[in-house]
Subunit: 224 residues, 2 copies
DNA sequence: ATAAAACTTGACCAAATTTTGACTTTCTCC
DNA sequence: GGAGAAAGTCAAAATTTGGTCAAGTTTTAT
């Protein structure tokens, strides 16, 4: 599966150029020409983000902080600014690297590769998560109990994916909401209770096991 | 616990300077003045490596490849070389970043922090606190006495978490209230007495130990 | 366009936790 | 040794939380 890269920059000429170049290297590229657009496109779950610092509206540094609340992936700043303080600010905002314009395309590719490789090393992407007879295929978004395929809706699978990928950790409803819906829950997060109920029922009926534990007052935990 | 950084460079003047600076920032620093020495010092399991490319004997690029076979941690190249091709080589050799000399110390620190932070995000440490046979799993919110799991309510666990994470320190009730409830206690601080009682009873029944000491007139202290 | 599926909401109940207040014990200082 | 303050105990009351259900609302598929 090709890596997805999100380019955020308000200069169409540059984004066009980069987009073409990266696509030539086999990446799947999405372009956002504004911060708002960038946030909207986070749902493609990019594997890496190229982020321009100088943009109208919310600037790249602030955007970076916001993105960090949603997804974990390498964020590389692209910018013309060069002072050391700027670099420091960028990295402190949660960026992973800093590339000053003008930059060589070859260097850019190399840096991207380095970061993706590093992400690969750390995230050991278990395309498949298993828990005693239960097989969760993340990339295919399918769940099996032994030979039998269980059917889950999108939200249901998203929740299963999030929890089972982080087994034995407790997440409160707010955190789950953030991870699955992509933004904060407003009022009562009754929705989650309901989805958890559905998931539990399906898993229980098929396997007879309880996979999602309730930690009273705290949230839920996937038992591995 | 302080992060460990390994500096590999054959210029004693530079390593000395860096070492001091990093130590000032709270890092534990080891220095290797040659590739051989570097390999020997991998056993300190550094959290991050600063690696000079130009060194006699095995050069930094080759060393990097070798290191990669042993441990996984961010590797940052330090070097005077500046051509794009060099950068590409460095990153392809398995490096995670590339900093050209001369570089600002502030930028260096920022980059180091960025990489460590990223590592932290990915490697999610087990977050476990132990006290003589007692195991407190912070992220999973579980407490074990040997094989047996003890059950605590949210507030109880919060208090245990706070105290056990700061062992041997005395905290008055107000301070505990602030840490656990998130705001100041208003009137009666009887709540804490009650919770402490419950916690003590459960821990005592399971382990026979007294983990929370009363410091009369002062507060409570977790005995480690 | 219509039917089906998925998602969300509000209400209710039962269970578990948290807080409270009255009371007892322990400690410190005179 | 005794007064007073601080800490410990206990049971009951008050509150919060999670599970469940039924009824909307939205989205998706046909």
């Amino acid at each position: 599966m090709a890596y997805r890269i999100l380019i955020v920059d308000d200069e169409p000429i540059l984004t066009e150029l980069l987009s073409t170049h990266l696509q030539d290297h086999g990446y799947t590229v999405s372009v956002a020409n504004s911060s708002d657009e960038a946030l909207a496109k986070l749902n493609i779950k990019p594997n890496l983000i190229l982020l321009d610092i100088n943009m109208p509206g919310m600037d790249g540094l602030d955007l970076c902080k916001v993105i960090r609340n949603h997804i974990v992936c390498p964020i590389l700043f692209l910018t013309a600014r060069i002072t050391e303080q700027d670099k420091v600010n960028g990295l402190r905002a949660g960026g992973d690297d800093y590339i000053t314009k003008p930059f060589g395309l070859q260097e850019l590719i190399a840096r991207i590769e380095a970061h993706l490789r590093r992400d690969e090393r750390n995230n050991r992407p278990p395309e498949v998560v298993t828990s005693q007879g239960l097989i969760i295929n993340l990339s295919g978004r399918k769940v099996f109990w032994n030979e039998q395929e269980l059917s889950f809706s999108k939200r249901e699978f998203d929740i299963i994916e999030f929890l089972s990928s982080n087994p034995n950790q407790v997440f409160d409803k707010e955190r789950i909401y953030e991870a699955v819906w992509g933004y904060d829950a407003e009022g009562d997060s009754n929705v989650i209770k309901e989805h958890i109920r559905k998931i539990r029922a399906k898993l229980m009926q098929a396997s007879g096991n309880e996979y999602i534990e309730t930690v009273w007052g705290m949230g839920y935990r996937w038992r591995k």
